[in-house]
Amino acid sequence: MNSLGEILLEVKNLKKYFHVAAGTLHAVDDVSFTLEEGRTLGIVGESGCGKTTLGRTILRLIEPTSGEMVFNGKDLRKLNTSEMRYMRREMQIIFQDPYSSLNPRMTIAETIEEPIFLAGLIPDSDKRFMRVLDLMDTVGLAQRLINTYPHELDGGRRQRVGIARALAMNPKFIVCDEPVSSLDVSIQAQILNLMKTIQRDMGITYLFITHDLSVVNHFSDDIAVMYLGRLVEKAPSEALFQKPLHPYTEALLSAIPVARIHNRHERILLKGELTSPINPEPVCRFAARCNQCMDICTKEEPPLIEARPNHFVACHLHKPMGS
């Protein structure tokens, strides 16, 4: 993996709250992390953890409530609308649903061309079209498909169109919001391999959002686990899988269905259901379901600490390194 080592994205205390009838919904609650250029950070969690909101808030497709996103040294929140639009060339997104992420009335060539046209990168119409063909080659779409409409293509091909669109402006950073979850297993593998190749060839940095742990392990350098809007653990993939520190991560890992009939492990089952993200108490949000819950967990919210080198966790069971 191309690791240039420079920090490309720094997220500091990012919060996104929604006002709903019942109160304030803490969708993303005080999330901080850094992401180096050329690497992939996987964000995992189940429904309601806020990972999708996080991805969109970082790109300012949703306005954050508070906190900072520093991309390539620039504070994104301080940019005005046209500066932000200019910045978007470097930060793109691949969506989850190949059925609703493409305009049904535009051919795939038109869809891929639009970002190039809007950015004014290639004024000449023919040259621009050649670039569209280049992009289609890169993602493995045949030339003869230029004038097809999304409904004529299957999910895997549509997703390739989405990837081509995201690559059109030569971005440095791509948020991948569950890009393969809607696809069949055999197609998922094709798309993941494609994305890895693109990263290798173009040095792209990915934020890979998913609920599928087996996929994220394969695809990410580091993994961050989210629960009810908070970041509960972050570590390099191998470290997370071999020695998870947070009880939720342990349960999550043990819940992955394994396609094997021998050496199966006992599942750690969680009690109960997700607590509400609306007006949460300042205590550990996982306490109600945790089988290792201590007294302090129901009284204080655990801060995110570095328990091992480069291994962060927000849990009262662990102490910061060196203490």
Binding site: R56, L59, L61, R85, Y86, R88, R89, Q92, I93, F95, Q96, D97, S100, S101, L102, N103, P104, R105, M106, T107, E114, P115, L118, A119, S125, D126, F129, M130, L133, D134, D137, T138, A142, Q143, R144, L145, I146, N147, T148, Y149, H151, E152, G162, R165, A168, M169, D201, M202
Partner: protein, 303 residues
């Protein structure tokens, strides 16, 4: 970027497009529409009415036949000379029906066109921006929706005078809030799709998003409503003219023909049957057409 693995047979976009043609969505929809027999019937009837309206000056002479009184020939039953008979002033009813079609269609279609434009702007803004914009616009249109079309048109005509233009504007205003609602709900249905977010993420401005991404995907329900509202508009015109507030005699209009024929209805029913049937068939044709369009464009049946 990796070298292209496929050879490029052409160098210009035009050549590529000529080789790999676009499949016409319109053509496929047309074929689907044709399978619906009642809808096709509606279309045919409507086309006949339009054709008749357009060729009116060639079919008959306005001054001599349509408005010139001819007392000697009054109240004749349908015959070879006068296919629909003559009215109480001796005028050929068929000729009057033909010219009446012009009036109804021109005013009906222009009025709906006006209200469609207004509806696109208001409904589009309300649906796309939501929030306060939506509330303000919708409460405004709610006020107008409370008023019956006829009363609203009445008020405007009373205030500004009875001309064809005023009539068109009046009906246009009456239908604007209805269109706003239709457009708004269509926009809301489209707005939450991810491709709208995608457009924003590649730097498209609102104007482009609305014109290129939102509206083209809303056309379906809007087109259906256009046909149905044209039918309504024609009915409203007839109602107003019937009450003496729309098109004034001697200009023929199906509504005012009904009004003037009313007194003779019992002994000479043909005078009211003709305009009555004309209205009936026009409305029927438009409704069948509208329903057919709705079925054709139903997204659930797609692909």
């Amino acid at each position: 970027m990796q070298a292209t693995s496929t050879a490029r047979p052409f160098t210009t976009k035009k050549e590529f497009y000529a080789q790999f043609k676009k499949k016409s969505i319109a053509h496929e929809l047309w074929l689907r529409f044709l399978k619906n027999k009642t809808a096709v019937m509606g279309l045919i009837i409507f086309c006949i009415i339009v054709a008749v309206a357009i060729t009116a000056p060639w079919i008959t002479n306005y001054d001599t036949v349509v408005i010139k009184m001819n007392i000697a020939e009054r109240l004749q039953a349908p015959s070879m000379n006068h296919w629909f008979g003559t009215d109480e002033l001796g005028r050929d009813i068929l000729a009057r029906i033909v010219y009446g079609a012009r009036v109804s269609l021109v005013i009906g279609i222009s009025a709906i066109f006006v209200s469609l434009m207004v509806g696109l702007v208001l409904g589009g803004a309300a649906g796309y921006y939501g929030g306060k914009t939506d509330s303000v616009i919708m409460r405004g249109t709610d006020v107008f929706l409370c008023l019956p079309d006829v009363l609203l048109a009445l008020a405007i005509i009373a205030a500004f005078g009875n001309t064809k233009l005023n009539l068109t504007i009046a009906i246009g205003l009456a239908f604007s809030p209805k269109f706003s609602r239709v457009v708004r709900s269509a926009v809301i249905g489209v707005r939450d799709n991810e491709y709208i977010e995608a457009a924003r993420s590649i730097g498209a401005l609102d104007k482009r998003i609305i014109s290129r991404h939102v509206l083209p995907n809303c056309i379906g329900p809007i087109i259906v409503q256009v046909t149905l509202y044209v039918a309504n508009a024609i009915l409203t015109i007839a109602a107003l003219s019937f009450l003496g507030l729309g098109i004034q005699p001697p200009t023929p209009e199906w509504g005012n023909m009904l009004a003037s024929g009313r007194t003779y209805m019992r002994d000479f029913p043909h005078i009211v049957m003709a305009p009555g049937l004309a209205i009936f068939f026009t409305i029927l044709a438009l409704n069948l057409l509208g329903d057919g369009l709705r079925d054709t464009l139903d997204p659930r049946l797609k692909h």
